[in-house]
Symmetry: C2
Subunit: 211 residues, 2 copies
Amino acid sequence: MDWHELAPMDIEKRSFEIITRELGGRTLDPERAPIIKRVIHTTADLDYADTLYFSEDAVKAGKAALLAGASIVTDTRMAEAGINKTALSKLGGAVYCFMSDQDVAGEAKARGITRAAVSMEKAAVLTGPLIIAAGNAPTALLRLNELIWEGRIKPDLIVGVPVGFVNVVESKEIIKASGIPCILSLGRKGGSNVAAAIINALLYTLHDREQ
Amino acid sequence: MDWHELAPMDIEKRSFEIITRELGGRTLDPERAPIIKRVIHTTADLDYADTLYFSEDAVKAGKAALLAGASIVTDTRMAEAGINKTALSKLGGAVYCFMSDQDVAGEAKARGITRAAVSMEKAAVLTGPLIIAAGNAPTALLRLNELIWEGRIKPDLIVGVPVGFVNVVESKEIIKASGIPCILSLGRKGGSNVAAAIINALLYTLHDREQ
């Protein structure tokens, strides 16, 4: 089909139809399906149908936090850029990335830890409903877990989808055991794009967008 | 190993060592290896060792354009956010994303095509060395190809790594046949993060960063 004949709004619709077809006979939890499909839409990687982990209460907790105007803290400028700010601000929410902040950089250098770890400490002083969306740095999740155990932070939802080869698998297992509602990409895969896709899927469900 | 004991700068180094080990006996072209490895580092997806396609002259053309202070035009804010602007600006280059521009949105709506397609027309009026980095929209590549054939644009390099299910595979095959130096992720996979990783790998090689 000539690409000129396919209207922009039909491209996404058709993509989701293909994804649904390729997932074939699988029965996805209806509450989780829009999230799983949007991540596959973002990555063209059907593995996520198997590797996305949801704690029992994750979707409900995430939606409630967004409806209450949650702050979302991400560990990359890319995830920040990918989250739909129009949809988020309509609910009174906002997204923050502290990675480039001077105080975070200075503190990280002084202590010899990553800026992502320090940025979780900065997230801990925010008030109101909170979602952590980590798409890059396992150290963000590892420090976050310590802060949870110290009683210094209690996010409403953790989207924990860092990607890579060092401490990544472990960081997700630790969050899985934290008792905090979470959506995780078990294994090595994930990324800023996956983090943004999960947040956007939650937002679009709340805005009654079709997918 | 306790994560506190691993210095931030060692995490990336160790990640690349793991990638090199997992690629095992494969012989990667030395000029292409840093790009392939950085994409795998960004995605934790070893498939890219097989699916990244380089035209014969792509790496040399990309480096020459960056050294000459190239403009990079991307099709997403995420790719724009992911490209290392410090490394780019040291060479005199800059990155542009026209997707949110009012004139692009208006033109796209009026003509019933995607903003990504219109943004390629906007790229065509830039002067000087030019790299197109498309990580999302196949329609960017399809319109780009038309502009190339019409003689309205001649990028020094096309990084063509859109992701998805509709027109994605075809868009890359069309660019492959365009005669323009290109780096492509053949198949459905790709993404804004992959586009940024390829540009950054080229930049880091020029800046003599280890990986």
